[in-house]
Amino acid sequence: MAATLKLEIVTPEAKIFSDDVEMVTLTGIDGEMGIYPTHMPLMTQLVACEVVARKGSENIFLAVGDGFVQITGGRVGILTDMAIRAENIDEVAAEQARQKAEARLAEKLSEEESATVHAALVHATTQLKVKQRHKK
């Protein structure tokens, strides 16, 4: 029995995370789930959330955007449009991005634009949420 899972998080820009961890917590479309090694093979959609990876006694927190998750016994593959480690989040920048996105939403937008702005808004709020949780 494998004691670790390989967690891989990739975005179109880069491979953000790739390491062996003991447990992963993420939010799928049907709710939050914790994944241990030898989890049943599963494929689902990911919603913007905080992903927690436990490695030893240490917890690694990441803010991720929408995407897809593929879970096999020894591996968790996350395909998403944004992923950033909690300690790397720039709160000021995220807050600015959130305000800008909200201001843009108030304007009249085409369907295409509003999708982009929505994505930006989701990214920013997720980052803020994750950051604020770890301030305490």
């Binding site: 990739v10 179109p12 820009e13 799928g28 093979p41 494929m43 999708a115 982009t116």
Partner: protein
């Protein structure tokens, strides 16, 4: 016979041209490196996307998505991905030569890049929409194009969509290539960008049973449009890499040509100058001899 002053003027003008082309070559070289890099970083993503698609497809036998329906009609749309600016050698002309082979009456064109839309307008072809993309193509720009193509296809306006773009082979070689976009027939691997060997989808290990949440149809229904968007994005990135490489090579040739011309002109200029001096000397000596 041009005078020495004319030649001097020409040398000066060619020198100016050489300076400009040299500068453009440098700029293109820098941009090329960035564009190639951008096309490469998408590779791990493409790989994982392929894997997920393979698994999903293997477990959804008999599943039919509107985007996968192949229809018998002859109407098709072609997305021509060109560049915004010229001065990139034969890149666009090669692309358009390929495009003009397509049947005018049954093909609708969708263009990305200014040169491509100019071509379609000039040759009075059927233009459905034109898009633009920046030097560093954004995912949202790709999504807009891909979304439009999907809509065309789903509405039944066209029965197939292809993409025609300059494929990046290496810095010296770019080749116009047509790839099928819609319908998604066999789930083909997303091209993983520059120089990547085109991977075929691996046969899935059928013994692994996958759970889907909420269900296969929903996951695959989200996955298909997303992978199309991503494919479009990769193609835009690759086009940019091709454009910058082609421009760099074209500008290098232009600079070399200009240098050669300067060399030839300088030789001619010196010859002429010497001939003039000799002539003058001859005149002086003859005059002296006549007097003396």
């Amino acid at each position: 016979m041009p005078s020495t002053r004319d030649i001097r003027r020409r040398i000066k003008s060619v020198k100016n041209t050489a300076q400009i082309t040299k500068a453009m070559q440098m700029v293109a070289a820098a941009k090329m490196r960035r564009a190639q890099q951008a096309a490469l970083v998408g590779r791990p993503y493409a790989q994982l996307l392929n894997e997920i698609m393979t698994e999903a497809a293997a477990h959804t036998i008999g599943f039919d998505h509107p985007l996968m329906q192949s229809r018998a009609g002859g109407k098709r749309a072609v997305i021509v991905v060109g560049t915004d600016r010229g001065l990139c050698g034969g890149l666009n002309s090669n692309l358009f030569r390929e495009a003009s082979k397509l049947d005018k009456n049954t093909t609708v064109f969708v263009t990305a890049g200014r040169k491509a839309s100019q071509f379609v307008a000039r040759t009075k072809r059927n233009l459905a929409a034109e898009f633009s993309f920046k030097d560093t193509p954004q995912f949202s720009e790709a999504r807009a194009i891909s979304k439009f193509a999907q809509d065309l296809f789903l509405k039944g306006d066209v029965d197939a969509v292809d993409i025609l773009y300059p494929r990046f082979i290496n810095t010296l070689m770019q080749q116009p290539q047509t790839v099928p976009f819609l319908p998604i027939g066999k789930l083909a691997a997303v091209t993983a960008g520059i120089n990547a060997p085109k991977q075929e989808l691996a046969d899935s290990k059928g013994d692994e049973v996958f759970e889907f949440e909420p269900d296969e149809e929903t996951v695959l229904g989200e996955l298909l449009p997303h992978s199309l968007n991503f494919q479009m994005h990769q193609i835009l990135l690759e086009t940019k890499a091709s454009e910058q490489s082609a421009r760099m090579v074209a500008m290098k040739n232009a600079t070399d040509n200009a240098k050669q011309i300067i060399k030839d002109l300088t030789l001619e200029y010196n010859k002429l100058r010497q001939a003039n001096i000799t002539k003058e000397l001859l005149e002086i000596t003859t005059a002296q001899m006549a007097v003396g």
